[in-house]
């Protein structure tokens, strides 16, 4: 690290975390780069392991109830399904992004390969509903043989993610959910001692339907969980009036999730103590890992902390820097806020077969 970079890191650890996590390779099921970056960021914090789905798991033993803190670490990807005779490659999408949003994105592969997402727009306006995934292809700039060698069927890429600052906002394709992962690491750095027996899962395959969060939560069998994830707002799908820059959201309801009353109380209490203004997330469509964690095992009281974000119509997401900082404040405060006693305490022992 150069002296300048070190000074910058001291000045704002969150910026340094974003800079290391955002560009890291990590589409669903291939989270190799981001896992390595997180391992680096978590060094010295406790034992770190990887499980069958690719989740990264950190345990910080402590007295108090077993708390699971979850942040997804993958980013939407593409997978090569077929090579064409002209050296282009047909692709399918891995994760919840519409095909239109990827047009023009540069896609990077783990070996350093790069290709451009292209689409032949019909001149008759027949694609008013937007292109389907099967009509996208990668321009490789190579002939068929070279392309087949460089991008064989099954190659997985992700949109090239540079971190960029636009005024008060961060801009990058992988902010969902690298911003959430960065907020969690920053909160951990700030709170070496928590009120909990703390398990942190950086979840894999979130984009494919919260697969990592589901198995990760089952392995930890927590008494309480906090999920930190981006929520895209202002795209007409949410009924709430969430505004970027007005603070992190506490999730009340989204597809597959409804807040747990005790979790909600805890979040409000922590926000008040940390003097963090909060907004509420209410939406019918769109979901995070919170639903999967809430349903795992015999059910888990789960708090959803959602960082408001905006889509751009292209591959990028926008996040307000102040929201991100306040999310760190809120999560850090949550970690030291003991829960209200359970009305009917559950007797549970940790399950076998967790993270290995």
């Amino acid at each position: 690290m150069t002296p300048k970079a070190r000074r910058a890191t001291r000045a704002n650890p969150l910026d340094a975390l974003l800079n290391s996590l955002v560009p890291a390779y990590g589409p669903p099921g291939r989270e190799t780069g981001v896992r390595a970056a997180l391992r680096g960021a978590l060094r010295g914090m406790g034992p770190v392991s990887e499980d069958a789905l690719g989740n990264l798991h950190l345990h910080r033993p402590g007295r108090g109830p077993r708390l699971l803190l979850v942040a997804a670490m993958d980013a939407p990807g593409v997978i090569v399904t077929r090579l064409e005779s002209n050296g282009t490659a047909r692709i399918d999408l891995l994760g919840g992004r519409s095909a239109a949003e990827l047009i023009g994105a540069m896609v990077v592969f783990p070996d350093g390969g790069r290709a451009l997402v292209a689409y032949d727009r019909p001149s008759n306006g027949k694609d008013a509903a937007g292109p389907e995934a099967g009509t996208l292809y990668l321009v490789t700039g190579l002939d068929k043989n070279a392309a087949a060698k460089r991008f064989p069927v099954g190659s997985v890429g992700m949109a090239e993610s540079r971190l960029d600052r636009l005024g008060d906002q961060w801009r990058s394709p992988s902010l969902d959910n690298r911003a959430g992962a960065a907020a969690v690491v920053a909160a951990l750095e700030r709170t070496p001692k928590s009120a909990y027996d703390l398990h942190v899962v950086f979840a894999a395959q979130s984009e494919l339907g919260s697969r990592g969060a589901l198995t990760g939560a089952f392995g930890v069998d927590p008494e309480l969980a906090i999920v930190v994830e981006l929520a895209h707002v202002g795209d007409g799908k949410d009924q709430s009036s969430v505004t970027l820059g007005e603070g992190p959201c506490v999730g009340l309801k989204e597809h597959g999730y409804i807040a747990h009353p005790r979790g909600l109380d805890l979040a409000r209490k922590a926000a008040k103590a940390a003097r963090v203004p909060i907004q509420y997330l209410v939406r019918d469509e769109g979901s995070t890992d919170a639903g999967a964690v809430r349903r795992s095992g015999a059910g888990v009281p789960t708090v959803l902390i959602a960082i408001p974000a905006r889509k751009t119509g292209g591959p990028d997401s926008l996040v307000h820097a102040r929201d991100l900082e306040r999310t760190v404040d809120l999560v850090a405060r949550l970690l030291v806020t003991p829960p209200a006693p359970e009305p009917t305490p559950r007797k549970r022992t940790p399950r076998r077969g967790g993270a290995r």
Binding site: I79, R82, S85, D92, G154, T215, G219
Partner: protein
């Protein structure tokens, strides 16, 4: 040759693929939820080879088999899984004139049903998906596909009472197809996934190199249900699902587009709608195939879903992979496969089990 490569080539001979299992399983009927006739054939095939055999609450058949060389548990516990059920229909109503109304069980293309012969219920009563005579059809109707709700099965009964003496509401309906062979091609129904069932039954005829729990699962075609329940109980260290999958051969299309091909060797999944296959396990399958000179091909990513997706998400997560036989015309009255493919799948899976080290346990 590297040491790793040498290790991949060590070990005993794989068991042989038993074609008689494929024939018996294919000829048995077992639409989802009604797998008993198939299960009986599987029990017959594996009863004497395995250490324990039980039917779980869902109806899946679960067999445990300890590794060669004593009872001591060595190596990772592997779940091998194939599903017994097939797509078919269910009788939902009987009309006054004795015709049966049916609904789909699993995914079937309505274009392939008109005029087909079916077997209904446990007695295998024959029925024809009736067609109106041409002179009663308008030109417009001639070019239309009849939706399944409008289709009827004619079992030759002339009244509701007569029909109900032969069949009951809720009876399941299967294609009336008999196994046949010519050259290396085999024809039969429900190769998805009776070929997987036969591969699995063949694999357990010899004591495996690692502890294996073999699961012949139910209700795959209606939501991957049986394997999900079985995986929670078996709680394996890793899983390999054996499937019969759709070949991608399209007449007139380029070779690159027509993948995978019948006869092209075991088909390995990288990703489908249900699963990101475990990258290490898929790599081990590939390496084993290379060392054993077994040709392999990739399943086209993004297509379909298998029990592996559910097994992978069971408990705290299970590394899972899929090895398939590419069949033409699955989910239809008669499918084709190349008999060399299931033989190679048995070899590939067996030698992959041999190559599993302690790191998987």
């Amino acid at each position: 040759m590297s040491r790793a490569r040498t290790a991949l080539r060590r070990g005993g001979a794989a068991p042989l693929f038993e074609e008689r299992f494929l024939e018996a399983f294919s000829n048995a009927d077992g639409p989802s939820g009604w797998e008993a006739p198939v299960r009986a054939k599987v029990v017959e095939a594996v009863r004497d080879a395995v250490d324990s055999l039980e039917v779980d609450a869902m109806g899946s058949l679960v067999a445990r088999i300890a590794p060669a060389g004593g009872r001591a548990r060595r190596g990772p516990h592997v779940m091998l899984c194939a599903h017994m059920d097939e797509v078919g229909f269910m009788v939902t109503a009987v009309e006054k004139d004795g015709r049966l109304r049916i609904r789909k069980v699993g995914g079937i293309d309505p274009r392939i049903l008109m005029g087909q012969v079916f077997r209904v219920g446990t007695k295998g009563i024959r029925g024809v998906a009736g067609v109106l005579p041409a002179h009663l059809l308008s030109n417009n109707d001639m070019s239309k596909v009849v939706p399944i709700e409008e289709l009827f099965l004619d079992i030759g009964a002339s009244s509701r009472n007569e029909a109900l003496q032969a069949v009951s509401l809720g009876d399941l309906v299967a294609f009336d197809t008999t196994y046949e062979s010519w050259g290396s091609v085999r024809k039969g129904k429900a190769f998805d996934d009776r070929v997987g069932c036969a591969v699995l039954a063949s694999l357990v005829q010899k004591r495996p190199p690692v502890p294996v729990t073999a699961v012949w699962a139910v209700q795959e075609e209606i939501g991957l249900r049986g394997a999900a329940a079985a995986a929670r109980r078996v709680s394996p260290d890793l899983a390999i699902v054996l499937e019969g999958t759709a070949s991608g051969e399209a007449p007139g299309a380029s070779e690159g587009e027509s993948q995978p091909r019948m006869g092209g060797g075991p088909t390995i999944t990288i990703q489908d709608r249900s699963l990101m296959a475990d990258a290490r396990l898929t790599e081990l399958l590939q390496k084993t195939a290379k060392a054993r000179k077994i040709p392999t091909q990739w399943k086209r990513p993004g297509v379909g879903g298998t029990d592996a997706g559910r097994i992978a998400l069971s408990g705290a997560g299970v590394p899972a992979a899929v090895v398939s036989v590419a069949c033409r015309y699955i989910h239809a009255p008669a499918a084709y496969l190349d008999i060399r493919d299931p033989r190679r799948v048995v070899e590939l899976v067996w030698h992959t089990l041999e190559a599993l080290g302690k790191e998987w346990a």
